[in-house]
């Protein structure tokens, strides 16, 4: 079937890449991008880094110059939210009631911040996902307030680092045993904890949050499950995210933890998904959903190709990075907390190192800490599933 009208819902990294790939690979029909945000597509990783720190202005994070967007020859419906999908009738309904017909659809609506179960609207309590969130948090840090970050995943850890660099007293609270332990495993996570402590962050792991204290509608502190309380003028809630699939409920599209796709990123005939919202069957890892920037691009390309009939199983080597203080951590593959881990080069505490994760005697993932060139070398080993380094080799290098 040749498609004549493709609609992309979600005009950010994955959606834009899908649209560009469609054009680059010969789609000449009508192309529409629908995005809830007013802004043309912009890049999110700098939000918790250069933007939060005040080093970059928002113009700097545009994903493409205006001419490149014009060159796509697409219709842009920005500031418009999709509220429902009719799979059989092949239409999308927008919040203002407009019906947008399609024959091919790319779902790229990303994720939204998860909220605390007890959260109420209180001044001084922030989330961090879009540009407005980042500017609001940046502005609130100007007076050097005391900050509590709830959730020590990569987002919370990055924001804690920036707040600390701006001079704020910072506490980082998480119910797990160390920052980013789910993403990086215990060994690397304990180094992340040491890094934050060395910079003066009050790192409270194994600690849950039970509520806020307030003063006339403004947050005043965070209550912990050990009965204590940390005073706070600003709180960032960074406890993970949930896929933005509310508009797909009742659509008949398979939805669970994200849009459930097959190995080609397809959820139903002519309907694909990409980026943070997409759960798909990775040939090596089974069903996964990846919330990292690199995946948004790669999956946007793959999903577009599927729509055009160039179907290949989507089998990327996942990649992510995070910047905290002067440390860049990069990971290839899927490090997991219960895999074996060993350092293969560098490694004295606090200094640069490269390490590998493995299972059943094979390398399944690699991580580097301020060793970017080694990251690429590890990528090759992850692809090959290279044999686990012998202890002698590991020790000689380390």
């Amino acid at each position: 079937m040749t498609l004549s009208r493709i609609v992309v819902v979600g005009a950010s990294a994955a959606g834009l890449t899908a649209a560009e790939t469609l054009r680059r690979e010969g789609f000449t029909g009508r192309l529409t991008l629908i995005g809830e945000e007013q802004h043309p597509p912009y890049d999110r990783p700098p939000l918790s880094k250069q933007i939060l720190k005040g080093e970059w202005q928002p113009e700097r994070i545009a994903l493409r110059p205006a001419e490149a967007l014009d060159g796509l020859d697409a219709e842009w419906l920005l500031g418009r939210k999709a509220v429902s999908l009719d799979v059989a009738g092949r239409t999308i309904e927008l919040a203002d009631g407009v019906q947008v017909p399609f024959d091919g659809l790319v779902v790229a609506t990303g994720v939204r911040p998860r909220r605390l179960p007890f959260a109420r609207e209180l001044d001084g309590v922030h989330a961090l996902r879009d540009l407005e969130d980042a500017l609001k948090l940046r502005d609130s840090l100007r007076s050097v307030p005391s900050v509590v970050v709830i959730g020590a995943g990569f987002l919370g850890a990055e924001a804690a680092a920036v707040a600390r660099e701006l001079g704020c007293p910072v506490s980082l609270v998480d119910p797990l045993s160390a920052p980013m332990v789910r993403q990086l495993g215990g060994d690397v996570a304990s180094r992340v904890a040491s890094l934050h402590r060395a910079h003066g962050v009050d790192v409270r792991c194994d600690t849950g949050v039970t509520g806020f204290t307030e003063d006339r509608g403004r947050v005043a502190g965070v209550r912990l499950d050990d009965g204590s309380e940390i005073p706070a003028e600003v709180v960032l809630v960074a406890i993970g995210s949930v896929p933005a699939v509310e508009w797909l409920r009742d659509s008949g599209l398979p939805v669970g933890d994200g849009v459930l796709c097959d190995e080609f990123c397809e959820a139903a005939p002519g309907i694909v998904a990409a980026g943070d919202v997409a759960s798909w069957v990775h040939p090596d890892h089974g069903r996964i959903r990846v919330e990292h920037r690199m995946n948004a691009t790669e999956q946007g390309m793959a999903a577009a190709r599927t729509l055009l009939g160039r179907r290949l199983p989507f089998a990327p080597v996942p990649y992510f990075w995070t910047d905290q203080y002067d440390v860049k951590i990069q990971a290839y593959g899927r490090p997991c907390a219960d895999a074996d881990f060993t350092v293969v080069s560098g490694g004295p505490d606090g200094g640069p190192f490269a390490g590998v994760y493995g299972q059943n005697g094979r390398i399944t993932a690699g991580v580097t800490w301020n060793m970017p060139r080694e990251a690429r070398a590890l990528r090759a080993q992850v692809i090959e599933r290279a044999p686990w380094p012998r202890p002698a080799a590991a020790a000689a290098n380390g």
Binding site: R24, L63, M294, T297, E298, K328, R373, R376, R379
Partner: protein, 65 residues
Amino acid sequence: MKIHIDEAKCVGGGQCVVAAPEVFDQRDEDGVAFLLMENPGSELHASVQEAALLCPAVAIAVAER
């Protein structure tokens, strides 16, 4: 084809080097990408375009001319 790398944006993952190893490399000290050639021949244009599209930091600008 004119290629520009925004060094301040580059996050050093090396996807450009994987996509077009003839054209891109990374500095040893910080992993920031640099060009091995200023004017790649037409046989390399597709892989350079691929690198620019893949770059997770949107640090590569390509102008055809």
